[in-house]
């Protein structure tokens, strides 16, 4: 039960970015990605501008770019889809290094790759500078319903426990020679998931009784976190503001 109250993508720190309230960072990150997505794909230089913008945030937050780059590999599955596009896209086609590539398909692949990568990097920056409990507080201040927050809080507390249990069950299967390659070999995995559900639910019943015995009334107690001030909003919203300027310039020039 040694589950920490942090998450794997969090990078301990006390920089300006770390100290900003979570709701401010969530809104800023969302608006920034929205600007990225709205930028025309032909405005190649604008995407370089976004990368510089993020690099400035990393410098302020003291996140090493190499740390970021390694974690950005999360994106790999999307790249597979994007790599197919130049080959499956419609005519007209052009020759490159002996390959016949679709013009629209290649532009589409670039579009997914550039916007997807910038999106992942923005999310990673948010995750690296925001611990879990701040994130929940931020969601609360963004008016997420109390029931949803209660469920999310408990989920985050226990996700590591349940995931650890799933990992141990998987190891146990592998240790007994389980090496599935085809769909019809999924039976053992499935029965494992069944018992995982029962264990999760019964743990929920025990947790509920434990919470009741400690005086739980149905709502999470609020902690005495300081209120967000306007200057913090101004600092954080500088990021999407610059991004919006890049997006608008991109739209005008293409």
């Amino acid at each position: 039960m040694g589950a920490g109250h942090s998450h794997p993508l969090y990078l301990e720190g006390s920089s300006v970015v770390h100290r900003l309230p979570a709701e401010v960072k969530i809104v800023a990150a969302f608006l920034t990605v929205l600007c990225v997505v709205a930028t025309p794909r032909e405005a190649f230089w604008a995407f370089g501008g976004y990368l510089l913008l993020l690099a400035a945030v990393w410098a302020a937050a003291r996140i090493p770019p190499g740390w970021m780059a390694r974690r950005a590999l999360i994106e790999a599955p999307f790249v597979v889809l994007a790599v197919l596009l130049p080959f499956t896209g419609p005519d007209p086609r052009f020759e490159w290094a002996g390959l016949s590539l679709s013009h629209a398909g290649t532009l589409g692949a670039w579009n997914i790759l550039a916007k997807g990568t910038l999106g992942v990097l923005t999310s990673l920056t948010l995750a690296a500078t925001t611990p879990m409990r701040d994130l929940l507080l931020g969601l609360q201040r963004l008016r997420v319903p109390a029931l949803v927050l209660t469920i999310a809080t408990l989920m985050l507390r226990y996700a590591d426990v349940i995931a650890g249990e799933a990992r141990r069950m998987r190891l146990a299967r592998i240790a007994r020679g389980h090496d599935p390659r085809f769909l019809w070999q999924a039976g053992a995995t499935a029965r494992g998931i069944g018992s995982l559900f029962i264990r999760s639910y019964e743990r929920g019943e025990r947790v509920h009784l434990a919470m009741l015995s400690r005086g739980w009334t149905g709502t999470m107690p609020t902690t005495g976190a300081p209120a967000t001030v306007r200057s913090q909003w101004l600092v954080a919203l500088a990021l999407p503001l610059v991004a919006a300027a890049l997006a608008v310039t991109g739209m005008m020039t293409t």
Binding site: V33, L34, G116, V120, I151, A152, Y158, I162, R181, I193
Partner: protein, 241 residues
């Protein structure tokens, strides 16, 4: 792990900004409705259970199952939660998982959150639930009937959820492939994933129904009588696995 994970989480930039915003608004409205309706299924008393079910969905999405050598998929869990905890609570569970994955794990784009919630938490759960409801007579008759119901619900849920992606792509697709190509690719892949989803959902529901049938929302007739915790027979591994 050298296999490619074929997941349905969309990244940023696959559909354009207006489409992302429209589906974001639809999803927020619908999840708000789900939060209100879930209260009927779930008083404050049982919120911890929903939290643990959500943690379960989160853990299960990390388990890959094989499709073909070199390619694997992971469970979406729409039909599974619809059958186990009902559609409204199920929608909340999947939505929370998607939001947390997007905010803390950079899995699925921030602007694609609306479309991802729409496909997996709304279409996925409700299509799975509609199929399961339509087959409820069969599901209640026998264990075999329940397993068939769970399989069909999960298969249909996966394929229809991938059609949600095709719909969004047709409205505001920002890549160079034609809608026809995307339709063929997505439905082809997800028919395969749907078989895996179906097998796992069926076996999971079957395993739960064998030990704690009172936990299966689809089989419930009247409001569940409060049951003391830890009374479920056989929590041991041997009896269920």
């Amino acid at each position: 792990m050298s296999t490619t994970d074929v997941a349905m989480h969309m990244s940023d930039g696959i559909v354009n900004a207006p489409t992302s915003l429209i589906f974001g608004v639809i999803s927020i409205l619908f999840v708000g409705l789900a939060a209100v309706r879930a209260r009927a299924d779930l008083d404050d008393r049982t919120a911890p259970m929903a939290g643990l079910v959500t943690a379960f969905v989160f853990a299960v999405q990390m388990i890959n199952f094989p499709i073909l050598p070199g390619a694997s998929g992971h469970l979406l869990g729409g039909a599974l939660v619809a059958i186990l905890v009902g559609p409204w609570v199920g929608t909340l569970c999947i939505t929370i998982v998607l939001v947390v994955q997007s905010l803390l794990f950079a899995d699925g784009g921030l602007t694609a959150l609306g479309t991802n919630v729409f496909n997996m938490a709304i279409i996925g759960v409700f299509v799975g639930w509609a199929v399961a409801r339509a087959m409820r007579g069969l599901a209640r008759r026998s264990r075999r009937g329940l397993i068939v119901t769970a399989f069909v619900a999960a298969f249909v849920n996966t394929v229809v959820a991938s059609l949600g992606f095709v719909l969004e792509y047709a409205i505001g697709g920002a890549a160079g492939a034609t809608t026809g190509t995307v339709l063929t690719l997505m439905v082809g892949f997800h028919a395969l994933i749907g078989i895996g989803e179906g097998i796992i959902t069926a076996a999971t529901v079957g395993a739960v129904a064998a030990v704690r049938p009172d936990l299966v929302h689809l089989l419930r007739t009247a409001p569940r009588v409060a049951q003391p915790a830890g009374r479920g027979p056989a929590r041991g591994e041997g009896s269920t696995a």
